[in-house]
């Protein structure tokens, strides 16, 4: 579950301030975050992921209060409990598709790569139609295929929470549907809350709720 209350955040001395009185997203529920550019949608995702620290309020993720965690703990929390899909989140060009999906295991000291993880990665890649491209370098994939790999990477650790920042930006409708199906399907099956920032109004009806920021 995601539980946010009295959240406040601002960048330095700038005028931008994000304030959120309350937000709860239950397990298995999906929430779309919409709003004009610069209103703080990405900032909200970064706060929920523990990448940014709020100046006030509370953020609870999977039963843990972010305020009680130091930077290292938040790092571990991200590796263990949060699946992140960003539009600009890069694949590593020097790893093949399978290794890119398994990257969280190689980067985090709290995760260990094993046969189960490999099987799960292959299953996820199969679900998004990339089972025959597991040994390809990302440079030989289309934009849509690359984003599907990024989704598999976010879900391979079986996260308790899934966060997405414009995960379908720049994708054609077919690839967009593939990506959203994968994210929402995982949320439903795993009972994980899903929060996705999107500009695409056609996608909003696919979510259980829509949070409009800055309007």
């Amino acid at each position: 579950m995601i539980d946010v209350g009295e959240l406040e955040f601002g960048y330095g001395t700038g005028e931008f301030r994000l304030q959120l009185a309350e937000l709860r997203v239950e397990g298995g529920e999906s929430l779309a975050v919409a709003g004009p550019s610069g209103c703080g949608k990405t900032t909200l995702i970064n706060l929920l992921a523990g990448i940014l620290e709020p100046q006030g309020g509370r953020i609870g993720i999977a039963g843990l209060d972010m305020a009680t965690l130091d930077a290292e703990d938040r790092q571990d929390l991200r590796a263990l409990k949060i699946g992140l899909v960003f539009q600009e989140l890069e694949l590593l060009e020097y790893l093949d598709v399978l290794d890119n999906v398994l990257l969280p295991y190689r980067l985090s000291p709290v995760l260990e790569i094993d046969d189960t993880a490999r099987e799960r990665a292959l299953t996820l890649l199969g679900r998004v139609g990339l089972e025959d491209k597991v040994r390809r370098p990302p440079g030989k994939l289309s934009q849509g295929e690359r984003q599907r790999v990024a989704v598999c990477r976010a879900l391979v650790t079986r996260p308790a929470v899934v966060l997405g920042d414009e995960p379908t930006g720049n994708l054609d409708p077919t690839n967009r549907d593939h990506v959203i199906d994968a994210i929402l399907g995982y949320g439903r099956d795993a009972g994980a809350p899903v929060v996705v920032v999107t500009h695409d109004h056609e996608l909003l009806p696919r979510f259980d709720r829509v949070l409009r920021v800055g309007e």
């Binding site: 790092q75 989140l89 890069e90 020097y94 790893l95 990257l103 190689r106 980067l107």
Partner: protein
């Protein structure tokens, strides 16, 4: 740790061109001073060992270095030869053993060393196959010379003519190989050893031909006087010395005046050496006596100063290479900012990202060190021989 190594390895493998350039340039900058050090050390050892084993040298006045390099390393002699009488004079003094060296000729690039059998004992040479030369015209090959010429005991080699315009004689002499020396790791390995008289035969000071005084030789006689016979062009000198024609070989002139390029002087004792050096110390004399170790020490001092200059240049190049490599790594990290940010966002602690980058750098440096060590090892094994080949 395995994951860090794996990711670093995959990055370097993917960027193998950049990695190879870095490994090559860092490896080269490590290799050059190390190899130079090895070559100078081994070269110095080889130079001084040979010089230490040669107490004194006597030769024509001029460059002591040229005389020493010719006598010890069989470099082509540049000084005028001295007379064989000096050998007799030294021997008669009873103060030293005198071993003459005649170094003017070659056989297909291998120096022909005209000397006496005393030289074998003096250099503690071991004959690997065959025997020492015993008869005029025979030769014994150093191990490398035998390999280079591709001949062995029982075969023959030809001396090379001294020059196209050498009209005084010195036509090629066919010499049977009677022995091959065991490898010694010294310049003797490259030599073709012959008796001093054989060297004089090659130079045309001695020769053999049919007896023009014999009955039936009128066709070869141009003019017959009371005490002299002048042969015509049909009289051919022998180009190979055999037991059958050996007696026909004779010298024209007094051997005391015949040339030797250097004389190895082995004093009977320390005092004899001092006395001899005093005798030949007079400036402007017809000959000079040198102490090879003193000459080689001067050469080595020059080598050291050249080495130091090269090391200083290498140090500058090294610093430039390190600066360039640092710049390449720094720029690379900057270009990979988004990739590193991705790693952090999906749960990599800062230390792990740093460990991956550090491992990449370590792998490049370690490979460069291995490359440089391997090349230095090769140089230490073959470098001096290769330099000797280049110089010959």
């Amino acid at each position: 740790m395995n994951d860090v190594l794996y990711l670093a390895w995959r990055y370097l493998r993917f960027n193998r061109g950049k990695a190879a350039v870095l490994v090559g340039s860092i490896g080269l900058i490590l290799f050059l001073p190390a190899a130079l050090q090895v070559v100078v050390r081994q070269g110095t050892q080889a130079l001084t060992a040979r010089a230490d084993a040669t107490p004194l040298l006597l030769g024509a006045p001029g460059s002591a270095t040229d005389l020493t390099l010719a006598a010890l390393y069989f470099r082509p002699p540049t000084l005028e030869p001295t007379r064989y009488a000096e050998v007799e004079h030294l021997a008669a003094s009873g103060l030293a053993q005198a071993i003459p060296l005649h170094l003017r000729y070659e056989s297909s690039g291998q120096r022909i060393v005209g000397t006496t059998t005393d030289y074998f004992a003096f250099r503690s040479m071991e004959v690997a196959s065959g025997r020492r030369f015993a008869m005029l015209g025979e030769c014994v090959l150093g191990a490398s010379a035998a390999e280079a010429l591709g001949v062995g005991v029982g075969e023959t080699i030809l001396s090379s003519p001294a020059g196209a315009f050498d009209v005084a004689g010195s036509f090629p002499l066919e010499m049977p190989v009677v022995g091959v020396l065991a490898p010694a790791g010294t310049p003797d390995d490259e030599a073709v050893l012959v008796d001093l008289k054989t060297a004089w035969v090659i130079s045309g000071l001695a020769h053999g031909h049919d007896d023009v005084t014999a009955p039936g030789a009128e066709g070869q006689v141009l003019e017959r006087q009371e005490d002299n016979v002048v042969a015509n062009a049909s009289l051919l000198s022998y180009t190979r010395i055999t037991p059958d024609n050996l007696d026909s070989f004779h010298f024209h002139g007094d051997p005391a005046g015949f040339p030797v390029d250097a004389i190895v002087v082995v004093p009977r004792d320390r005092k004899s050496g001092v006395v001899l050096r005093g005798r030949y110390a007079e400036p402007g004399g017809e000959v000079q006596m040198v102490v090879p170790r003193a000459v080689i020490d001067e050469v080595v001092a020059t080598l050291f100063s050249i080495r130091n200059a090269i090391l200083a240049v290498s140090l500058g190049l090294g610093l430039a290479t390190i600066a360039t490599a640092t710049l390449v790594f720094a720029l690379s990290i900057r270009l990979r900012r988004r990739e590193l940010e991705t790693m952090r966002r999906i749960g990599a602690p800062r230390q792990r990202v740093r460990a991956i980058l550090a491992t990449e750098i370590l792998m490049v440096v370690a490979t460069a060190v291995v490359l440089a060590s391997g090349l230095t090892l090769l140089v230490s094994r073959f470098g001096v021989s290769a330099l000797r080949l280049l110089g010959s």
